[in-house]
């Protein structure tokens, strides 16, 4: 069942099209990771589906409610905003109490302190938000997104700029929320993190979704070629690969020469026997040739 369904969503600022004809479905109970470089449109997408900005065209539904009925469903969505959106002069606990009231959250002060502890803000309840570090501000943003026990949680770069220990804690929290049946929409620059927690990933570039699928599907995407590691003596260099490509009349891409091997990209697995044959014919000793699983980063770079 779709929690979010986006159809031909477009957002323009003046003549600049920031989101271009986005079509996307996010299913109940999944962790959906949205990846994209700075300015790709990730935050604009979140702002548009949460009512912070108005769409230019297209439509979307959230939990069956259309974009025009978004107000009916706001209490069931927890949105983690940018840290710059906080009430800096409020104390942490008072901020959560105010946001909690707006979200229809019935938690009392001790329960809110427990929530702060869960996100790693123990002892910060009575401190003003402006005295918080960047990481602490991120954490209180996450805490306020969890108020009202929402079914859908939208987290905009929850771990960027925070220490590794806190990042792991937040990642564990995301996994725990998923286990509780929550749907999580997550954006991040940390591809490793997206890879670890997401059921599906969307790669956004220049306002368009370039790739969409499970992390495994994206990494195994045949259309993007196969990355192989070739251990030879002498080690194959860029010129050798270029010659090889010309001999085979196939696009073979030199990626990297390591200490004892070379990383190449060939169009498909079917090319591998011919590649090994040509390498041997070129008076090079071939010791090993293996398929390397692509990282999400490579998928992202090729998107």
């Amino acid at each position: 069942m779709s929690i979010i369904e986006v159809n031909h969503l477009t957002k323009k600022y003046g003549t600049t099209e920031v989101l271009k004809d986005i079509n996307l479905e996010i299913y109940q109970g999944e962790v959906f990771g949205f990846v994209g470089h700075n300015g790709a449109g990730k935050s604009t997408f979140i702002h548009t589906i949460t009512g912070i900005t108005n769409k230019s065209s297209g439509s979307f539904t959230i939990m069956g409610f259309s974009d025009r009925q978004l107000n009916h469903v706001k209490k069931r969505i927890g949105v983690m905003p940018d840290v710059s959106n906080l009430y800096e002069n409020m104390k942490g606990l008072n901020f959560l109490r105010y946001m909690g009231k707006l979200a229809g959250d019935k938690r009392n002060k001790p329960e809110l302190k427990t929530l702060m502890k869960e996100v790693g803000l123990e002892g910060a309840a009575q401190k003003k938000i402006k005295s918080y570090s960047f990481g602490m501000k991120k954490k209180i943003c996450i805490a306020q997104a969890l108020l009202g026990n929402p079914d859908l949680i939208i987290l905009d770069e929850p771990t960027s700029g925070i220490d590794p220990e806190s990042a792991i804690k937040i990642r564990d929290l995301v996994i725990k929320l998923k286990e509780e049946g929550k749907t999580i929409f997550l954006t991040s620059h940390n591809l490793d993190e997206i890879d670890k927690v997401s059921d599906r990933v969307g790669i956004l570039s220049d306002g368009e979704i370039k790739k969409l699928g499970t992390p495994r599907q994206l990494k195994e995407d045949k259309g993007a070629g196969v990355t192989i590691s070739v251990r030879t003596k002498p080690i194959l260099q860029k010129d050798d690969i270029q010659k090889l490509s010309e001999k085979m009349n196939t696009d073979i891409i030199f990626m990297e020469a390591k200490r004892d091997s070379t990383l190449l990209q060939v169009p498909s697995e079917e090319d591998l026997p011919e590649v090994s044959k040509k390498i041997i014919q070129s008076d090079v000793h071939l010791y090993e040739m293996k398929i390397e699983e692509r990282s999400l980063e490579e998928v992202f770079m090729n998107a």
Binding site: G51, T53, N54, I77, L86, Y98
Partner: protein, 232 residues
């Protein structure tokens, strides 16, 4: 909405500016009421020439509201909407509740603060005179309703709080002059102010006093309309 209203109302009391304004209005009301109370002959003279007893007691507060009302409300609330947009905290609010509820909450919270302020002054007058002058109280309410609606509109249209602070001073000085002048003059260039500003409606029948409320409500609806279309 009630939570935004409550916060807006309580926060209004926390600024030094607001406290000074409350103290000023209350002090002037107290001083004028005790002066009138100790000079009963003055009341009789005014009643003889067609005035009302209540008008004598509430003259000071009426003058404050009519002449300084715009300036005072702008001084405390010129950034009611645009400050939250500037600080981007409005983004946080709209993820939790509707824009209409935010606007209504902020409008009512501010109005309630001003109603509370004049209620304190009328309570002081009541203690001294022994009467609650309902008609004058309603006059002040109507006027404040109009001003708060206008301030909300300005704060929604102009997104820079520094600009609305400047405009607030400008409007705070110019509008009472234009309003009072248009109420007694028939110059063509003052005609729009005669009908748009609340001054001329305060000396008519009770029904006429509802006109500024209707205009104020219209200003507020325009503010909501603009707010609905804003990218925050």
């Amino acid at each position: 909405m009630i939570h935004i209203l409550t916060r807006e109302f309580l926060e209004s009391f926390k600024s030094v500016r607001s406290i000074l304004i409350i103290l000023f209005i209350t002090f002037v009301s107290y001083q004028s009421a005790t002066f009138i109370d100790s000079n009963p002959g003055l009341i009789q003279e005014i009643v003889k020439i067609g005035g009302e007893e209540g008008t004598v007691y509430t003259a000071a507060i009426a003058l404050i509201v009519l002449i300084l009302g715009f300036l005072f409300v702008f001084a405390t609330s010129h950034d009611l909407i645009n400050k939250e947009i500037e600080l981007k905290t409005m983004r946080l609010l709209v993820t939790k509740t509707s824009r209409v509820q935010i606007m209504v909450g902020k409008f009512l919270g501010t109005l309630l603060f001003w109603v509370a302020t004049i209620t304190i002054s009328f309570a002081v007058i009541f203690i001294i005179s022994g009467s609650w002058f309902l008609k004058d109280y309603f006059h002040s309410f109507v006027f404040l309703f109009y001003i708060v609606s206008f301030v909300v509109l300005v704060s929604t249209v102009f997104t820079k709080s520094k600009l609305t602070m400047f405009l607030g001073i400008l409007f705070g000085i110019a509008l009472p002059i234009l309003g009072l002048a248009s109420a007694v003059s028939n110059n063509w260039y003052l005609v729009p102010f005669k009908y748009l500003l609340p001054y001329r409606y305060l000396e008519g029948s009770i029904a006429l006093m509802f006109v500024p409320i209707v205009i104020g409500a219209f200003y507020f609806l325009i503010s909501v309309f603009i707010m609905q279309r804003k990218d925050l």
